[in-house]
Structures are given as C-alpha cells and as structure tokens.
C-alpha cells in the first residue's frame, strides 16, 4: 500500500467512526435527518456505480426500493416471516428483476432507457397496488419491529460502507476498467474484447440489489406501509438529482450531493412545503448550467486553480 492509499483509508475510517457516533450525539429530529441522508448516500452511491461510467440514467430506483419495503411488509405482516429473511428475499427478487430489465434494455440508448425505466417502475407500482387492493385486502401492512431509529441508521451506515468498499474494489478491477472504456466508446469497448452487455447488466444488478436492501431496512421506520408509499417515483428522481449534484466521476461524489441536498430539502419541507418540487427543478437547472460535473467537479476545478 502506498502513502496515498494509507491516507485515503485513514480518512475513510475517521469518517465512518464519526458517522457511527451520530446517534450518540443527536436524537429525535437531527437523527431522523441523518437517517434520511444515510439512506440517500447508500442509494445514490450505488446508483452511480452503474450510471456514473455508462451515463445511462435509470429511474427504476423507486421500483427496487419498493420491492424491498413491500416484501418486508407483506412477509412480516401477512406471513409472520422474519425481517431478515424478507430482506434477503427482496434483495434476490430485485437483483433478478434488474438483470431482466438490463437485458431487455441493452439495445436502448439515451432517452429511451430513461423512459423505459420510469415507465417500468410506474407499471410495477400500479400492478402491486392493484394486486394488493383486489386480492390481498385493501388494508395496509404493518411492519412491527424492535428497531429504533439508531438501529436503522447503523444498518444503513453499514450498507453505505459496503457500497463504498465494493465501489473501490470495482474501480481497481478489470470490470471497473471495462466500465470506463464503455463510458467512452461502446463500439471500441466491444472491439477490444469487452463483453459490454455482461458488464452493464452486472452493475445494474448491483444497483437493484442495494436499492432493495435499503428499501427493506427503511420499512420498519414507517411501520405502516402501502404500495404507493414505497414504490415512489419521487425517490427515483431524488436519487438521480443528488448523485448528479455531487458528481459521478468520483466514488464519493454523490455523498457531497446528498448532504447539502437533504438539509435544504428538509428546511424547505418545513418552511415552504409547497416549494419542494420547485427546489428540485432549480437544483436540476443549477447542475445543468453551473455544475456539469457536480460539487466534486467544482472542488477539483478550484483546487487546480489554487495549484497554478
């Protein structure tokens, strides 16, 4: 290990320890904001593992997240199954679904992929609502556990740490190198011998897997769950916006988008509750016009200017 990686690892460990201490310092309101932020850190970072290098914008996060939340709720409420078992089942279901979506959309490019993922997520939401209302009784589902907010927060922190570790391992691997080449020119990638379909589907599956795990972990927070709540299209958009705001060419980029965004979002929800959509649009404009490479890109530009 060289000096730079020792330094990076030390910074990472300090950050993890500080993040783990948050529930001891804050509770109630601030812990709940930290929990929301931690949820989006896991979601946006894992989303960017696929979308960062490929530039494919997926709006299916809500579907995978919903599968996590809904399966945990159904299993616990209707079948008395354990939380952990349902989380594992949800992760498998979402990963298989991601593989199918990936294989079906490989030939789509750009805007068609975006529309397809959004449409599919909405279709799944409606389908689940319909099944729930017509066949399973229209009552909602209860997720009753002994988990406190601090427990949920620590679970999400664990998932985030795993996402970062995995992202780092991928970046050092052939798969990571393949993804950088695919992001530059897919034709060249195929012609140097990269199985582009496999690489893309594999990373898309990773995204689906983590979104379902996060959805499952969050379910106990709501305690009462209905399909329209967890299969939320808004969540898909928020994940994208935060990742873009932070910047996707670095593993820790989305983190720098999530933290300011959730704080501002929270403040607006309290003081100007009707303006959250406006804020979403505004953030998008800021990204397009001023922060094409996100906060990370801005920081790197500033550092380069200071250095010269």
């Amino acid at each position: 290990m060289n000096a730079a990686s020792v330094k990076n690892l030390s910074i990472a460990i300090v950050c993890i320890v500080l993040a783990a201490l948050i529930p001891f310092v804050f509770n109630g309101y601030w812990l709940s904001i930290a929990l929301t932020a931690m949820m989006y850190i896991a979601l946006s970072t894992s989303w960017a593992l696929f979308s960062g290098p490929t530039h494919y914008i997926s709006l299916a996060s809500g579907a995978f997240f919903g599968i996590g939340g809904y399966l945990v709720a159904t299993g616990m409420s209707d079948y008395n199954l354990s939380f952990w078992l349902m989380m594992a089942i949800a992760a498998v279901v979402a990963t298989v679904l991601a593989a199918l979506i990936g294989m079906a959309t490989l030939r789509l490019s750009g805007v068609y992929f975006v529309i397809f993922t959004l449409g599919l997520a909405e279709m799944i939401r409606n389908l689940v609502s319909w099944v729930q209302n017509n066949f399973l009784g229209s009552r909602g589902l209860y997720v009753l556990t002994d988990f406190t907010e601090a427990h949920i927060y620590w679970m999400l922190l664990t998932v985030s740490v795993i996402v970062f570790a995995l992202g780092w391992v991928i970046s050092q691997s052939r798969l990571g190198f393949a993804m950088r080449i695919i992001g530059n020119d897919e034709t060249v990638a195929r012609h140097v011998g990269i199985n582009t379909a496999k690489a893309k589907v594999l990373l898309f599956m990773t995204t689906g897997f983590f979104a379902a795990i996060v959805g499952a972990i969050i379910a106990p927070r709501y305690s009462y769950i209905e399909p329209n709540l967890v299969f939320s299209p808004e969540l898909s958009f928020l994940v994208v916006i935060m990742a873009l705001l932070g910047g996707m060419h670095r593993l820790w980029g989305p983190l720098l988008g999530v933290i300011p965004f959730t704080l501002i979002w929270e403040a607006i929800s309290i003081w100007l509750p009707n303006f959250t959509t406006l804020f979403l649009g505004l953030t998008f404009l800021i990204i397009v016009y001023f922060l094409p490479n996100g906060v990370v890109g801005l920081l790197e530009k500033l550092r380069a200017r200071v250095a010269t």
Binding site: R174, F177, A178, R180, I181, G183, N184, D185, T187, V188, A189, R190, H191, V192, G193, I194, N195, T196
Partner: protein, 243 residues
C-alpha cells in the same frame, strides 16, 4: 507463401442494408503472415467487409472463418478475444483516458488478457513501437490526428491479434508522415503479422501488400498481386468511370 495455412476465409459473404447490397457474395481468403489489401471506389463495400469480419455487423448471407472456426455468428467481443483487432476509418480513441490507458484497453481485454503491471509494460513497449513514448501521459484529446491514429494502432496491437484490420490507417497523413506510417506497417509485416488493409493510397498498396482484392459495388472485381490488379483494365474502368 503458398505453404502457409489459411487464417481467414469468407464464403459467399453478403450484407444488405434494406435494398442496398453493400457486400455481394464475396469469397476471399488470407493466409498466415500475409498482407492483403482491399481496394475499390468509394462506397464499394470495403469498410462493410471489415465490419463483418470484426463482428460490428452480422452477414445477411454467407460466413467467415478464422483459423477454421466460424466467427460470423459470434459477437464482436468474442471475435476480438479470438484474435481479430482493428482500427476505424474515422479514428476512435477513448477521449477520457490517458494515452497509456487507451493502449492498455487492448492489452487487458484482447487475446493477451494481461493485467496490472504486465498490461502497463506491454502498453508502454507498444507506445515506443509506434513512436509515442514522449506522449504517454497526455490526454488523448490533445494529440494530433496522426498521433491519435498511432494510439489506435497500438491499442489494436496490444491484444496480440492473429489478424489486424486497418481501415484507411494511412489516410489524412502528410507525405513525411505517410513514409513513417508505411515503414511502421512494413515492420509489422516483417515480424510476421497478418494484416488486411483497406487503402486508397496506391504507393502504400504497392509497397506493402502481397496480394490485393478489388471491390466494386460490393462484388469482387479482381484479385492478384498489386501490380497485376492495378493494370487490369476492368479495375481501371471501375476507378475512372465507364468512358
């Protein structure tokens, strides 16, 4: 030359785009260590032939064999791993990667499948080979056109291909660059590489190719040594027009 085994063979190779038959019943073969030129007027189907060989396109009819194995039903990455590497008529570098990483792409995923230091060392030796050793850490987008073509050639070579496809690799070079370019391909030929090259530069065809095939409207018009085909009256008519 005659005792060498056949490395590449096309059988009734045909590709149509809607109503347009871009390649029409083409039969030709390439022996090991041979340099074969494909020439023909604009739009005669030369690039399409290379696209079919490299797997960028699937033939409508017919097949392609590499060392006795059918490759025309395989996908491009499969064909690349089996040892077909290429450059593109409109140069295609990876703009977000360094010069070294561009070449490493070929070393890591091609037939060699090297990794880490092995791939790096191999890439650096190829950069030296094509004359880019001073520019290895630059972003490729800052390179001149000929240097980008060199990067592309080094990337293709990095996978240690059984056969190298060059699509007008010498086009757009000035006279002195052209001499350097011809010498470079000559040296590849001397070290025993099998090469199929599409070219409009007749000097290059004459000095590099052991054999040539001439295409016109997707069909094989003539084949033989460069001198023989270039003096063939049907070939001259195809290039210069009917009268």
């Amino acid at each position: 030359m005659n005792t060498a085994r056949t490395l590449l063979e096309t059988i009734n190779l045909t590709k149509s785009f809607g109503g347009l038959v871009a390649v029409n019943g083409l039969n030709f073969s390439v022996k090991e260590r041979e340099v074969v030129g494909i020439i023909g007027p604009n739009g005669s189907g030369k690039t399409t032939v290379l696209n079919l060989i490299s797997g960028a396109l699937r033939p409508t009819v017919g097949s392609i064999q590499l060392a006795g194995q059918q490759i025309s039903n395989k996908s491009a990455h499969h064909i690349a791993r089996n040892g077909v590497a290429r450059t593109f008529q409109l140069v295609r570098v990876l703009p977000g990667l360094s010069v070294t990483d561009n070449v490493m792409a070929g070393a890591v995923f091609g037939r060699k499948r090297l990794w880490k230091n092995h791939a790096l060392n191999h890439a650096e030796s190829l950069l030296q080979r094509v004359g880019l050793e001073d520019k290895r850490s630059l972003p490729v987008s800052s390179l001149t056109y000929i240097d980008q073509k060199r990067v592309e050639l080094a990337r293709a070579l990095a996978g240690d291909p059984q056969i190298l496809l060059l699509d007008e690799w010498l086009a757009g070079l000035n006279p002195s660059e052209l001499q350097t370019g011809i010498a470079l391909i000559q040296s590849l030929s001397e070290e025993g590489r099998t090469i199929v090259l599409v070219e409009h530069v007749m000097d290059a065809i004459r000095s590099l190719c052991h054999r040539c095939i001439v295409m016109n409207s997707g069909q094989l018009l003539a084949s033989g040594t460069p001198d023989a085909v270039l003096s063939d009256s049907a070939v001259i008519t195809a290039y210069l027009g009917e009268d």
